[in-house]
């Protein structure tokens, strides 16, 4: 019993810490409960899908997929084309997803190949590969769009005649959110989007119970044993990356339909950082992550994200300090989680050795 309590406590130390910080920061920030609640709902709508797209690679032992920028770029390409074609509403978003899917699969396949050649350093490689592909993405949008690929809408194209503009207003804004929107006490609940997120939660839960999910868990826990038992290790890892990339493509579409405008060239830069930080704040580790971690983490992380700068400003009178503190915490949380993971893995091998004695 005692041991079990301690186990739970240790595993939820990070979320508890964040609850504690919020408990201190909320009163200082002077935000009303209703305001915070509506903000959290907005953030859950925007970000939870993206956070959940990180789960499968964690399960397959590849750590945090810092390459989910790949999927985000695929989603953005989809949205740009939908805007060009002038398709509106949920239908437009669906078409964007249909356009984005094959691109995400292709990107995911590239990434999977690269990561299978960099076993043991998947995280840094996925991160750098994401940056590399963002160069290709820029080339595509800046030089090919509007020149080789014809664009009819002038408000999408830079004044020089080709290349997609830096900022695009999305006409499909709120496509999912406005489906079944319910108002309770002045707070809007975008039920449509929540249903989509709910479907992903169910899918992830169900997926763990399939043969493929079991293979992924096995590969994640022990590459060699899985391989010798006949599980196609590389193919399984590849599937995890591809699914993750496709999901992050949808995640970015959901995020942007809520935000309403697309920052074409830098919009996805921080996507991986914030998604990873949110997941880890929810109590996940680099080797174990659940749907609950994702949802709780998204709510907690963004609560702090909203509260902290204001609390910092009220406390010190300096606006920028809270801003930087927020960035420091985001990076710090990911750093700490990575360090703890590497550390506990080392400890595990040590205790496994002690057992053999």
């Amino acid at each position: 019993m005692n041991k079990r309590m301690r186990y739970i406590l240790v595993n939820s130390a990070v979320p508890l810490l964040f609850i504690l910080i919020s408990a201190v920061a909320i009163p200082i920030s002077n935000f009303s409960g209703m305001y915070l609640l509506s903000e959290i709902i907005t953030r859950l709508t925007r970000n939870s899908f993206m956070v959940l797209s990180l789960l499968l690679p964690v399960m397959a032992g590849m750590g945090i997929n810092f390459g989910l920028i790949l999927g985000a770029m695929a989603g953005q390409i989809g949205l740009i084309f939908v805007t060009e074609w002038g398709i509106l509403g949920a239908g437009g978003l669906t078409v964007a997803a249909i356009v984005g899917t094959p691109i995400a699969i292709l990107f995911g396949w590239f990434a999977g190949n690269v990561l299978n050649r960099a076993k043991g350093r998947e995280m840094i490689t996925s991160m750098i590969f994401g940056l590399f592909m963002s160069g290709i993405y820029q080339f595509f949008l800046l030089y090919l769009c509007g020149s080789i690929i014809p664009f009819s809408r002038p408000n999408l194209i830079l004044s020089r005649g080709y290349g997609v503009r830096n900022a695009i207003d999305l006409e499909v804004m709120g496509g999912f959110d406005n489906l079944l929107k319910v108002w309770v006490n002045g707070i809007a609940f975008p039920v449509g989007t929540f249903i989509i997120i709910g479907v992903l939660c169910v899918f992830t839960w169900w997926f763990r119970k399939t043969k493929l999910g079991q293979n992924m868990r096995a590969v994640g826990l022990d590459l060699d044993v899985s391989g010798s038992s006949g599980i196609p290790v590389e193919k399984t890892r590849m599937q995890a990356v591809i699914i993750s990339t496709v999901l992050s493509c949808y995640g970015q579409i959901i995020y942007l339909q809520n935000v309403g405008s697309l920052n074409t060239y830098n919009g996805a830069d921080q996507a991986a950082l914030f998604a990873a930080a949110a997941l880890l704040v929810g109590g996940a580790t680099v080797s174990r992550a659940t749907v609950v971690n994702g949802i709780v983490g998204t709510a907690l992380f963004h609560l702090n994200f909203i509260v902290m700068p204001v609390a910092g400003k009220n406390l010190t009178g300096q606006a920028m300090l809270g801003e930087y503190f927020r960035m420091f915490v985001s990076y710090g949380i990911v750093t700490t989680a990575l360090i703890l993971h590497a550390w506990s893995r080392k400890k595990n091998t040590d205790s496994a050795r002690a057992e053999r004695k």
Binding site: F66, G135, Y324
Partner: protein, 344 residues
């Protein structure tokens, strides 16, 4: 034919391609209104500015800590040194000397903490180094705002808070190395002799360091940690030394950069130094666990040459600003290539 093959194998295909490309750019430059002496001047200056930063990669690669994606840790140490030198209102050679001394001191302190972290996460150094570097950058952002700096030329005007985003060092010690012994060749080409000599000195010191008993032990640790351990060497201690040295050299590197550039860049800026320095040494032929001074020199020339010449030529040829894209694709492509190469 076999000679050609041997040459390609020795020099490495990426280097040959980039070198040919550079040569092409040099030749093409004048046709698009970019005089050759301007090109040479640009490349020389950028080489001198970035050389020491790239040099700072060597100790960590050699000790087996991998590519130092945590360069920002050293960069903020150097920036802190530079700001403190300004704080003391020092100018001229004394100013830059004090900046370097402070930079070395903070480099040692930060590097020590950074090294302790990396010793606990063997095998995952690179991703953690990246995030430690970024975390440190934002931690220092808070410091730039909150520390009680006094010098008005460093502070934000108009009632803002903390230090400026970019602080000019022209009135203090800007160009102290670049202008030293400079040799004007033409109106566009001035050889920054002092800066190049300083880089040469740093290379010599690094070369000497790896000749010492400790340097030899560090190389052995990187080459085969088990061998080193069996020889009675403390692997952790050698790795720690290498991280401290790397961070200290990076701190000096950024000060060299700043005096040539004329500004200290604070806040988000140190982030930008992580990937280019790594890419440069890889382009020079280093791998994840072996690097030497030739790699640094060749890599810096090729990488900086490409970054300065390509956009200039392309820009004037077809009026497209492709510099950012070329930088992203080449530097990250180079790193991915190195990471996916079979280790040993």
């Amino acid at each position: 034919m076999s000679n050609v093959n041997a040459l390609v194998k020795n020099v490495g295909l990426p280097r040959i391609i980039i070198a040919m490309f550079l040569l092409l750019m040099f030749c093409a430059g004048p046709f698009f209104g970019i005089p050759t002496d301007t090109s040479v001047d640009d490349v020389l200056v950028r080489f001198g500015m970035n050389g020491v930063l790239v040099l700072s990669m060597i100790p960590m690669i050699q000790s087996g800590c991998g590519l130092n994606f945590g360069v920002p840790v050293g960069v903020v140490a150097g920036a802190l040194g530079a700001v403190l030198s300004l704080e003391l209102n020092l100018t001229g050679p004394l100013g830059i000397l004090v900046a370097i001394i402070f930079g070395l001191f903070f480099g040692a302190v930060f590097g020590f903490g950074y090294g302790l972290i990396l010793n606990r996460v063997k095998g995952d150094e690179m991703i953690i180094a990246t995030y430690v570097g970024f975390s440190m950058t934002y931690f220092m952002c808070m410091m730039w705002i909150s520390l009680p700096f006094q010098n008005p030329s460093s502070l934000t005007g108009y009632g803002g808070e903390g230090l400026r985003v970019t602080i000019s060092v022209q009135d203090y010690w800007g160009g102290q190395l670049s202008e030293l012994l400079k040799i004007p060749i033409s109106s566009h080409l001035v050889i920054p002799t002092g800066m190049l000599l300083f880089f040469a000195l740093m290379c010599f010191l690094m070369w000497g360091f790896f000749k010492t008993k400790v340097g030899t032990a560090i190389t052995a640790v990187g080459s085969n940690p088990e061998f080193a351990r069996a020889s009675g060497i403390s692997v952790d201690k050698m790795r720690l030394i290498s991280v401290v040295v790397s961070t200290m050299v990076a701190a000096v590197g950024i000060i060299v950069y700043e005096q040539s550039f004329g500004f200290i860049q604070l806040y988000d800026a140190p982030r930008a130094f992580a990937f280019p320095s790594v890419a440069a040494i890889l382009l020079g032929g280093a791998s994840i666990n072996k690097a030497n001074i030739t790699n640094v020199i060749v890599g810096t020339i090729l990488f900086q040459g490409m970054l300065t010449l390509t956009p200039a030529v392309i820009n004037s040829a077809i009026q497209i600003d492709a510099s950012e894209m070329v930088r992203i694709i080449v530097s990250n492509g180079m790193i991915v290539y190195a990471l996916t190469r079979k280790a040993r």
